[in-house]
């Protein structure tokens, strides 16, 4: 207990946003489970995923908030932007409308997160190239114009999924290293060497329990 039960140094909060059906939950599932979830139910409000990654030999726990894409949830999901260190903004390359809504999502992301939040644009379903409705070039240009990182991914094949999550983490870590992200700020979205959760009030009792368990 003295060393802490945690095997990571940082917690980064991510939020995945984007229109309904672009594959946000599938991206998360692919990232955390390395599997493709074929019939993914509509997300209600927000769901969560976690995975511990390593950046610059630092263990980082990614706490990913996968928001509902349905418009009716938007009022609620807007509440969850706060304190996100990274925002993955997803559109579907086979549906132009999801790309067209990006500016709206981007506005939310900009307004509801802190200025240092890393926003990563993901064009999902790149395995369906035949049905492509949004070219890579225009999306790339959009990303450059808005200072976003960009990748086309496929939650189905797993292509670039890992990179999107990891590159975001690297960028956040870089921001921490160069001091542009203040860890002490309440909304940084980053927790460093987290304190034990609420349960710590029992810490005084737990160590003897553990000894008892060690049998």
């Amino acid at each position: 207990m003295a060393a802490g039960p945690y095997n990571y140094s940082y917690i980064f909060k991510y939020i995945i946003i984007g229109d309904m059906g672009v594959g946000k939950s599938c991206l998360l599932h692919q990232f955390t489970e390395k599997k493709f979830m074929a019939d993914c139910p509509h997300t209600i409000g927000v769901e969560f995923g976690t995975r511990i990654i390593e950046v610059a030999s630092q263990k980082i726990k990614l706490q990913i908030w996968d928001t509902a894409g349905q418009e009716r949830f938007r009022a609620v999901t807007r509440s969850y932007y706060r304190g996100a260190a990274g925002a993955l903004m997803v559109y579907d390359i086979t549906r132009r409308s999801t790309y067209n809504h990006l500016s709206s999502w981007l506005t939310d992301a900009r307004n509801l997160t802190n200025p240092n939040t890393v926003i990563f644009l993901i064009g999902n379903k790149c395995d369906l190239d035949a049905q492509r409705d949004v070219t890579y070039e225009e999306a790339k240009q959009f990303a450059e114009e808005n200072g976003l990182m960009f990748l086309e991914c496929s939650a189905k094949t797993g292509e670039n999924v890992e990179d999107a999550f990891l590159d975001t983490a690297k960028k956040i870590y870089q921001n921490i290293q160069d001091g542009s992200l203040d860890l002490n700020a309440a909304e940084s979205g980053v927790q460093h060497k987290p304190a034990t959760p609420r349960i710590t009030m029992n810490a005084g009792v737990q160590p003897p329990n553990k000894e008892g368990c060690a049998c």
Binding site: P5, I44, Y80, I199, T200, N209, G212, C213
Partner: protein
């Protein structure tokens, strides 16, 4: 021979290129000397290119002395041709003490017509003496040498030998010329200074041993006395070498054994002569050689008795040789070839001396003198080589000393490696222990099941709603506030949890109750996850109860399972409240009374907390059962832990429920405001 000698010097030059200019300068006159001799002696080239000379040159104190010696060498070369060996003998004896190579170069036997070949023949042993050292050091065996020596005679092998001479000479030059250490130079010089007393000493010793007679010349004792004499000069080296001293001694012994003249002369005389002849490729001196062979034979007869004893001692010396390996066949062969030459040379010496009417003993001493000089050279070269090997990458032998010195308590590699391994193992154990601890750590498990995340999200919603409620209340007119306030208070009252309900210990139909209360909420949320987890836990308990006699799980596993179940159920309960809160906010326009929802949620909370209590009781029962079966185990701590975490779990659920109060008030307010504005 000239070809091979050229080779030898080509390689020697290569070796010399690595030497400091100082030494090169020293060696340069040596080559001059050889050239001069070449012209003077005419036929013989081998003698002029005695590899011995460069090594001697190296050990010379200075250029001046070297030049002096060159002059002497020239003189001797000339005198060797001109003077009779008998008169020359005394002269050379004198000069030998200071100028060994000169003596060798200008040996009296040169005067006997076949002087050229004699000289070369004499020089070859010198060469081989020194040359054999690297070979022997590298594992060439003397016995093998002698065997090969007996086979000598084929021209092809001879040429091969000549070639290997070139190589060996080159390598030798390399070795000796690579001596860079000033200490080495000084030592070598001092070695030379000691020559005279040393040799005298050796002579005396030899005389004594020869007089005793039984073991011939007493090569072994001679060798050891030589060694002791030489050891003063090579003490430094041998001291450094440590364990290698034995090897050196053996090598010295074998080196000394090798140049035994009589054995070789007896057995391989003709072959030697032949091989020498072919090796030198001097057709001109064929006749001379034959004459000499005859003379040798005669001489042999006269020396037979002595030779036999020598042979014995030589054999023992060979037996002592510790490195009978097959490596460096050419070199070792050549070494033996050189031995043959030396033997012949000594025989020649004896012959000429006999012709002069001198005693065999004197002759023997003379030969021994050469051998002594050669032996010291052997030692010197061994020392040099050893020192070079040690000092090559280790200036001043610091590392060698450190290596040979006792370690003391200085940490070494193996101990530090062991330490590192132990540390790693400990770290791993620590990690494993941590992992084990995490398995039964409620907080961590609750987090893993995303309970914390849902609680955090719910908290965000709650805080936002609370702010909204405050702002809405502030914005409302006092009359409207009065109409709405009772509802808000009702909702708040609904959140006053009835503790007495939790005391009920009887089983409840959890699934149906949860479903019932959730449906009362009319939020469209299904308790699927919650029920799935609950069913899983129930199934596990049932399975445990039904397998009374066969509990594969220990108390530890049961405890872990209990905590896991509690954490997961709590997490799903919190998630359920979180979803409810989200839906309440989204469905706030619906005409559903928030007070009713509040009551439904309160009942749901009661059901969840009750279930947590029930499950913890069941888990404790399981643990107690296990404890009864395994009497040795004390489960009190685990039981306490389960009850503790159960209370924690209830706290989380009640916290989540209480977080919904602002959300419901917010919803109620908005509904009321909506109703007010619409009416």
């Amino acid at each position: 021979m000239s070809d091979s000698d050229d080779n030898a010097f080509a390689s020697a030059d290569e070796g010399e290129e690595k030497t400091p200019p100082k030494e090169r300068a020293k060696q340069a006159p040596a080559r001059k000397e050889k050239k001069a001799e070449k012209t003077e002696t005419g036929a013989s080239t081998g003698s002029l290119k005695n590899p011995k000379t460069p090594s001697k040159v190296e050990t010379a104190k200075g250029k001046g002395k070297q030049q002096q010696r060159n002059k002497k060498g020239k003189n001797c070369g000339i005198s060797a041709v001109q003077e009779n060996s008998g008169t020359k003998k005394s002269e050379t004896k004198e000069s030998q003490k200071t100028e060994d190579p000169v003596l060798k170069g200008g040996h009296p036997d040169k005067g006997s017509g076949d002087g050229n070949r004699e000289m070369s023949g004499f020089e070859e042993p010198e060469k081989s003496n020194s040359l054999s050292q690297p070979a022997e050091l590298s594992g060439a065996s003397v016995p093998k040498d002698s065997d090969q020596n007996q086979d000598v005679g084929g021209l092809s092998t001879e040429k091969k030998g000549a070639k290997s001479l070139g190589e060996t000479a080159g390598s030798k030059a390399n070795i000796s010329s690579s001596v860079k250490s000033p200490e080495e130079q000084t030592i070598a010089a001092s070695d030379r200074d000691h020559h005279t007393p040393q040799q005298e000493k050796v002579l005396h010793k030899l005389e004594e041993s020869a007089n005793t007679g039984s073991s011939g010349w007493g090569w072994s004792s001679w060798g050891s006395s030589l060694l002791s004499a030489a050891s003063t000069s090579v003490q430094t080296f041998t001291h450094q070498v440590g364990d290698g001293l034995t090897t050196i001694m053996d090598t010295v012994e074998s080196s000394l054994g090798v140049p035994d003249p009589n054995t070789l002369a007896e057995e391989d005389k003709d072959k030697d002569v032949e091989s020498l002849e072919t090796a030198k490729k001097e057709d001109v001196i064929d006749d001379e050689k034959k004459d000499k062979t005859e003379l040798l034979k005669e001489n042999q007869e006269s020396e037979r008795a002595e030779r036999k004893s020598e042979e014995e001692t030589k054999d023992t010396g060979q037996d002592v040789s510790p490195e009978p390996t097959a490596s460096g066949g050419g070199n070792s062969w050549f070494a033996s070839w050189g031995v043959g030459d030396l033997a012949k040379k000594m025989q020649d010496t004896g012959k000429s001396l006999a012709a002069k009417g001198q005693t065999l003993m004197t002759e023997g001493f003379d030969a021994v003198e050469h051998l002594a000089a050669g032996g010291i050279d052997v030692l010197e070269n061994i020392g040099k080589k050893t020192y070079n090997t040690l000092a090559e990458h280790d200036p001043a032998l610091r590392r060698t000393r450190q290596f040979l010195a006792p370690r003391g308590d200085k940490p070494n590699l193996s101990s530090s490696l062991r330490e590192a391994r132990d540390q790693a193992e400990q770290q791993q154990k620590q990690d494993e222990a941590n992992q084990e601890a995490l398995k039964a750590h409620f907080g961590t498990l609750f987090d893993d099941y995303q309970g914390l995340a849902h609680l955090e999200a719910l908290e965000i919603l709650s805080n936002q709603s609370e702010k909204k409620v405050h702002s809405l209340l502030n914005s409302l007119a006092s009359e409207d506030l009065a109409t709405i306030k009772p509802q808000l208070l009702n909702i708040k009252n609904a959140f006053e949890l009835d503790d007495s309900a939790e005391d009920a210990a009887e089983d409840q139909d959890f699934t149906s109750l949860v479903r019932q209360h959730l449906s009362e909420l009319e939020l469209g949320t299904a308790p699927d996850k919650l029920n799935t987890v609950h069913q899983m836990v129930q199934a596990w308990i049932k399975d445990f109860d039904s397998n009374d006699s066969n509990h594969s799980q220990g108390t530890k596993e049961t405890h872990e399972k209990s905590i896991q179940a509690l954490a997961e159920l709590t997490a799903k309960g919190v998630e359920q409240f979180h979803k409810a809160g989200e839906m309440v906010l989204l469905d706030k326009d619906k005409d559903k009374d928030c007070t009713e929802r509040a009551h439904s949620l309160a009942r749901l909370t009661g059901v969840l907390c009750h279930e947590i209590g029930n499950l913890s009781n069941k888990f404790v029962a399981c643990l107690n059962k296990l404890a009864e079966e395994n009497k040795s185990e004390d489960v009190t701590r685990m039981v306490t832990n389960i009850y503790l975490e159960a209370s924690n779990s209830s706290t989380y659920i009640q916290d989540a429920f209480l977080l919904l109060l602002p959300v419901l008030q917010h919803a109620a307010l908005e509904q009321a405001i909506l109703a007010l504005t619409s009416s």
